[in-house]
């Protein structure tokens, strides 16, 4: 069974609006896959991720996570399996310290203190920020905040990770660090980004959205090498390929 399945997914922000943001999307994601979602601004990348998390429920067609239809009555089950890393980490982190923020999810799911402690420590270890546990959130750098956001999702035990522009506003060293961490994570990863080099480094499969439809779905290298296809969709060859050619 696919971990994520979309069938003829359509979405528009208001019922009165004639224009659909997402049009007839069909795709499935298997366990262990890393999928990049690319496309120009306003094509619906973030919208697609928000539909999968259940933040936008008024879609047409079918969207399933681990067999559960993304509907209000299934949100509890879905959200235990799936985590969403916001583009702006400041909007995601709201507790005083790193430890408290990472523990927020497990505590909400009624886990015992010992279990919470174990999960928080493991998540901090996976994201290599054990040393930040007692640090105040407002004292963190942009890169550290991103890692804390990911740790907060991992602590819940989610193995489907959705990330919206994870490399935005990161310096090269933090970006490299994030790439390594994402590579090491198990489970499904879906990354929406304009940073095609980042997608190249983290995803083996890429979906190119154009005008709300899937223009390409396949091997990352194949799409990122296709200058005509990228340029026709408002994108440019990633730097790694530009120098190769």
């Amino acid at each position: 069974m696919s971990r994520i399945e979309l069938q003829h997914l359509m979405f528009r922000y208001k019922r009165q609006q004639p224009e659909y943001v997402l049009k007839d999307l069909c795709m499935s994601v298997e366990d262990g896959q890393s999928v990049g979602i690319i496309g120009p601004n306003g094509v619906g990348k973030s919208t697609l991720l928000k539909i999968l998390t259940g933040l936008l429920l008024e879609y047409e067609g079918k969207a399933c996570v681990d067999g559960f239809a993304v509907q209000k009555q299934n949100l509890d089950q879905i959200r235990k399996k799936l985590g969403y890393v916001f583009q702006d980490s400041d909007s995601q982190l709201f507790m005083n310290t790193v430890y408290e923020d990472v523990a927020f999810g497990p505590l909400n799911y009624g886990m015992k203190e010992d279990e919470v402690k174990m999960r928080v420590e493991k998540a901090l270890c996976q994201t290599r920020i054990e040393n930040l546990a007692d640090r105040q959130i407002y004292r963190l750098s942009g890169g550290e905040k991103k890692l804390v956001s990911i740790a907060g999702i991992l602590a819940i035990g989610s193995d489907i990770l959705l990330m919206d522009e994870p490399s935005a506003a990161l310096d090269p060293s933090n970006r490299e660090n994030l790439i390594e961490i994402i590579r090491d994570l198990k489970g499904v990863k879906i990354i929406a980004s304009h940073d095609l080099d980042f997608i190249y480094d983290t995803c083996e499969r890429t979906v190119l959205l154009s005008g709300g439809r899937i223009a390409f779905d396949g091997d990352t290298k194949e799409v990122l090498r296709n200058r005509e296809l990228l340029e026709a969709n408002g994108l440019r060859l990633p730097l790694s390929f530009r120098f190769m050619n």
Partner: protein, 265 residues
């Protein structure tokens, strides 16, 4: 530094102070909240003209400032506007109550003067006690204590969310003000004619940020009540702290220490 930035920094400094590794920070928040409430009740119970008895209650504040390693200077600087407001409020008493109660070396002391002083001391003590509580307890800790006291979860969550959103709103306001001033050289602040759109934009942006924070919370299982992390509080010390302050404050209330000391002299 900009006033808004300074306000945000003050909030962060208070949070830092409450997280420090000091004796006062290791006491269970419930003990501190109960002692503070008990103190407030006792301070408010003093008769308007019992100034000497009331002054004895300052011992609690003095001891906490020393034991809690809290800077008195900083406290008075941060609370100066509040003290000024209290002073203005009390000053009205002098105008309305002019009855002479006694004369001190020929100077007529009216009921209004004493009630003003009494109001000033009571309100000042209450504000300082609340400040000392905040200086050693995080907002989460205080809310945890309120939940233990069976204050409804919805109210406690409301307090926490207001606190979080207040910081978000201040940050948005600081960002917008900075963007405005960078494009308005020579201006000291936001001009009157820009205030309408400025306030509207700030509200919309704050609401958007608040919505994102709420989304982030619901995605991590938030069901309407904040979970609290149990810390390794020093339970025995906390019990001793609450009981001994409970008794000591009662004794201070019953036996005005300054009268007794004056009698001995």
């Amino acid at each position: 530094m900009d006033k808004l930035d300074s306000a945000i920094q003050t909030i962060h400094q208070m949070e830092d102070m409450a997280e420090e590794n000091r004796f006062f920070c290791h006491i269970h928040p419930l003990a501190k909240v109960l002692v503070t409430l008990w103190y407030l009740v006792l301070v408010m119970s003093f008769d308007t003209y019992n100034l000497i008895g009331l002054a004895g209650m300052s011992l609690y504040l003095i001891i906490l400032f020393v034991v809690g390693e809290v800077s008195v200077k900083t406290a008075f600087r941060r609370l100066r506007l509040l003290f000024f407001g209290i002073f203005l409020l009390g000053a009205a008493n002098v105008i309305f109550d002019r009855e002479v109660l006694f004369r001190l070396h020929g100077f007529a002391v009216t009921g209004g003067m004493l009630s003003m002083l009494s109001l000033f001391l009571k309100a000042g003590f209450a504000v300082l006690a609340a400040y000392l509580l905040m200086a050693g307890t995080t907002v989460n800790g205080m809310c945890h204590a309120l939940r233990i006291m069976h204050v409804p979860g919805i109210l406690v969550t409301l307090v926490l969310l207001i606190y979080r959103y207040l910081v978000l709103m201040l940050k948005e306001a600081a960002r917008m003000r900075q963007a405005y001033l960078l494009r308005a050289p020579g201006q000291k602040g936001v001009q009157m004619r820009a205030w309408g759109s400025f306030a509207g934009q700030m509200l919309l942006r704050s609401m958007e940020r608040a919505e994102q924070v709420f989304d982030s919370m619901t995605l991590r299982g938030f069901q309407g009540e904040f979970p609290f992390l149990k810390r390794r509080w020093r339970m025995r010390t906390s019990i001793v702290y609450a009981v001994s302050w409970g008794i000591a404050l009662f004794v201070l209330r019953k036996f005005p220490i300054f009268y007794i000391a004056g009698g001995l002299l």
